[in-house]
Symmetry: D2
């Protein structure tokens, strides 16, 4: 319920810290991936910009608008009560846009937004060089975001792109300090390395500088690092940002290539969910009878059916 919503994000991180592990966060892109993540007992949800752009048929290059993203975030929230972080790119515009953004995502049911320190409008990383935002300008965005939130417990995560843009850990740490001073509740250190060395150095030195805030990582390229390894480095949470999307893409390609070859789907039937399990994950069995009971007391007997409907 609403009244407990606000502490979900901090509770997730606190629980992970107390148990000596890290929080495992699933990157989701729609209601189905969300329901699957919840059933798999993930600790939280990441409304992935890449994932949500892709299921909208758009390259992840600043083309999806913040209201389109917020609509999917609202859908994700309706499907799960897990802590939910919205991946908000560079914040979709200037500080006033960032303030509107925070309110939109808070209203949509997100517990946190994550914004990254790339220049806006997004440069297309496949044709041009990545350019980082000026550190003061990005700190100002962080400050604007924090000043726009309604609930005290809403969180703003500053995502550091230094290591992606060719800078070193020193540069990332300087930015981290500025963003935390501006009010960031947590850091996300991004890396495209195949191993955890630069992540490890960043976390170790940040902790040494007495940074107590949560640190998020995204093990897409360094997927060999286990959650234990990452937790031991001092990482607070790992975001598995796009594996669900990528798995579903391969599975769908396979279905149609079997159909092409066999002219029927017999061979893939054992490998795909039944229609019944699709209906089941959506809560079809919790639907009320559409026939009205004749007497009011009948309602009482039914209330158990819908009591935990959300």
């Amino acid at each position: 319920v609403r009244s407990t919503k606000s502490s979900r994000f901090h509770d997730m991180l606190g629980a992970a810290a107390r148990s000596g592990t890290l929080a495992r966060i699933a990157g989701v892109h729609d209601g189905l991936s969300t329901m699957i993540a919840e059933r798999a007992c993930m600790d939280g949800l990441w409304a992935s910009g890449l994932g949500i752009s892709t299921v909208n048929g758009l390259p992840d290059a600043g083309l999806l608008t913040m209201t389109e993203l917020a609509a999917t975030v609202a859908c994700i929230r309706r499907c799960s009560a897990l802590p939910l972080i919205a991946d908000c790119d560079a914040g979709f515009g200037d500080v006033n846009v960032v303030q509107r953004m925070v309110r939109l995502f808070e209203d949509a049911g997100a517990d946190a937004v994550c914004i990254e320190d790339k220049q806006y409008p997004k440069r297309n990383s496949f044709l041009d060089d990545q350019v980082l935002e000026d550190v003061d300008a990005f700190a100002y965005k962080i400050w604007a975001a924090k000043n726009a939130q309604c609930s005290d417990d809403f969180a703003v995560i500053a995502r550091l792109e230094s290591l992606i843009a060719g800078h070193d850990v020193d540069e990332a740490l300087q930015r981290a300090e500025a963003y935390l001073a501006a009010g960031a509740d947590a850091l996300l250190i991004h890396s495209k390395s195949a191993d955890v060395e630069e992540i490890s150095e960043f976390v170790r030195r940040a902790r040494a500088m007495s940074c107590a805030q949560p640190i998020f990582v995204v093990p897409t390229t360094y997927y060999r690092a286990t959650t234990e390894t990452l937790a031991a480095l001092g990482v607070t949470a790992a975001i598995y940002a796009n594996q669900l999307l990528r798995a579903s893409m391969t599975a769908m390609v396979n279905v149609l290539s079997v159909l092409e070859r066999d002219c029927c789907t017999t061979r893939i039937e054992p490998d795909i969910a039944s229609v019944h399990s699709v209906l089941d994950i959506c809560g079809t069995q919790k639907l009320l009878s559409t026939v009205a009971p004749r007497h009011q007391e009948d309602h009482a007997g039914r209330s158990g059916d819908s009591g935990d409907d959300r």
Copy 2:
């Protein structure tokens, strides 16, 4: 492009008829499944009510609104130029709603809508008996739909639920006749049998009654029937309505169970699409450089890059 849009639906069916095969239509639920279907050379697209409800986290029980469905149909259209049929349940309301519906889906870029002859509001088939709509009332809906379309070539498909609701082929044929008389452009005969016997009887007798209109089938339960078998029966098109959805569900469940067991995603990496192929399917490589050329003539040299961008 717009100007050729209107004949896509009839062209697809004509091409299949001339080649002695049937049209293969992929049930899709978002932009990604659409792009995959297009790359796999499917003949057409079915914007699946079950699929789109599910990715919105909703049971397929009349809960998704027609404007939510139309928004996904517009997204699907932006991702592909294939013939596109929108699965519109029982039409979302009375005849006036049906007329608004036709305009909404035509504007969204659909080439056809399919409406089914179940009572509206939808009875929940898991708690109650299926009840068919009165035949005149449903014929009136078909008539209203046909009178609302703007483009001459927009099509209305009448979906027959007789065999699902426990009636026989006679009853289905009587309804088929009434719906065609009211203006339906095509029929969809639905069956939950594991074999094609009742479908076969329906198609044979319909053709004997000189029904020349296209007949669609949905081989979900009788998946062993090949496209050749179905074409030989006289079926015009087969809709693979939910296999992409079901495959993606299983694939996503698998990812998270590997992560749970292994504490990392190493083992599933070979089985999931690369980030690069996700970017590729969205057309990332077709993006323009964000840096303005200094002289206008530079534009000309670039136009080839975006010429076929859609």
Copy 3:
């Protein structure tokens, strides 16, 4: 802020009761009418089905979907913290739709929904006779709505159409009793009479039957009744449902007829709001400078500007 949201509806009615007056509620149809109602110190807001259908270009005949209405309700909520009631016609479908509806409107920021006891799908009142819903079926909808809400303080208002459909006050009172027994938090008694006689009889007899719940009225046809008169009858709140819409319609027609006659807008300039006052009501002057301050301490000095931004 969210945490105090839930009691807004009951606080509004309590305040009116304590002061011996009734609550005055403005029917609004978009963000601008909402901001105007708030500045005019109205006590609450009614997201009008007629108004919102009209600004969407649709007849008020069950054509607007509940998600379209909910999108406007979310916009209204972003513009004002006043108590907000959503006018939800007959509930947009069966009991399962009603349960989804309640969650959608609660998420959209409404404090209450109002549903009416007409049959669904809505009969077109200009061509057919009005038909009331079966009393048990409607009571079941009320019960379903109450069981779907998340916040304890969310309210469900049962709107009685008996007097519109040609029934008498006895019939309305019997229905009122059944709806309150099913959990309705308040009643709305609708009348198209030019005077308050039937409203007066209904309220007097309901109070005599010890109905303590709030009673709402809509003085569209009996506009001569003052708020004092209505309060003296025992009415709790009056909804001025469509006067803002109707006034704006006449004003816009006038502008274009002056332009037609004069070939310029000089003559109406004194009678229309300035561009400055349009910018002002939207909070343009509260926007942040888009230039980042060089030092973090600058932010502190600015926080006063945006402190009450919502």
Copy 4:
């Protein structure tokens, strides 16, 4: 219908040119203002950024997303077949965003988009100085827009902000030349002067430089200039961008101040549209009977009712 849509924009301007007058275009912000403009025989529609931001409760400062704007444009299109121009600020982002924008607005039913040569993200003109976009960068946006359109007849209007930003007519003419060379179909010269002197000079000199393209103006501040005066200067079309919005704002404020003073709405009843005229403008009388006719031949008799429903 779709097939004639594409030439609406050019037809409107051609008709005005042949008759020696200019086209009068109404700034609209929703479906109601659109239906009023159509009934008043305006020549075209301007989906106003200021108007649509305002009815969404947002300052006109780059906060409304392009998908929010496109949703309103689609609503406007559903209400009228008049030529429709979407006011797209600075294009909402980089050239790739501009290309997505063109497709979105073409799909939404617009005949043209207008983009302005201010820097993006939009600078807040009330706190900061206006800064124009680099001329080559903006020409590149124009080129990108023209290369993204599907229909040959879709138009891109380049809006010149030189005179607003403190530059002179020379600067505006240089920009005009570059934008036309990049493919702009028309120019919009903006001015905040109280008279037509600078507009007059711009148009005269542009025509002397053999600019044959349509030139639009927005007589908000120089409202004393009649359409005859403007036509005589060589202006092709005048956009009355925000008068409908401003008139409705004043009218709504008046309603609530009368209610406050009188405690009832009696005094304003003669000055506001009747409920009947609200229903009438939405086409309520064209709704079909919801009762199905018993025989198909009945449908034929009804088709006249809905034949011109759009």
